[in-house]
Symmetry: C2
Subunit: 117 residues, 2 copies
């Protein structure tokens, strides 16, 4: 089981930033996820994984898309996994990744603020 | 006029990560915004600003909520502003901040992915 930050679903899901001030505890968890998204390569990796046919992507398909070494791509995937943004399974030689959709939905809801009144 | 990263609205707005792979150019802009959100204090500041009565908050109301110095809070607000997440106006002695709602909506839409099929 990979190390993952705890998702505080009850505090996070569906409560936009305009609804109330985020608690310090929730902010720490959420900031870790946003920090993981704060890199162009990781954002592209997550995009490739989330848009892959069948909802999952093999590391063997991800690595050739970048002008980066395998270990560098593996490091970025580890950061995404530890932030709870992707989940992974090893099958034989390769590791497969899929997006953690509830986690992404919670982050989306947080930023989904109503127009100013 | 404060320095702000260009928002690539046409590429960003309303296209979730599942729709297509994010281009390298868009990923750089988006990652900068997520990186700015990747700090608990900045997330709380943005939450306080976005949820403030009238949609804007005075730096004089934000600073006392944290056990941090004024310059530290100002630095965090500058990071949020340079990432295009908040806008600011000086009125007399104080600077007032409001959330850049279209920018936040674009980030929200990006993470708003449909359930796996």
């Amino acid at each position: 089981m990979s190390k993952q930050l705890t998702v505080l679903e009850s505090e996070v899901c569906c409560a936009p930033l305009t609804a109330a001030t985020v608690s310090a505890e929730a902010a720490t968890d959420l900031a870790a996820a946003f920090k993981a998204l704060g890199d162009p390569v990781r954002l592209q990796l997550l995009s490739m994984i989330a848009s892959a046919d069948g909802g999952e992507a093999c590391v063997c398909d991800l690595t050739p898309a970048f002008d980066l070494t395998g270990p560098t791509i593996s490091h970025h995937l580890k950061v995404l996994r530890e932030a709870g943004l992707v989940e992974s399974d090893r099958r034989g030689t390769w590791v497969w990744y899929r997006a953690n959709r509830p986690r992404m939905a919670a982050l989306s809801a947080l930023l989904d603020i109503a127009p100013a009144t």
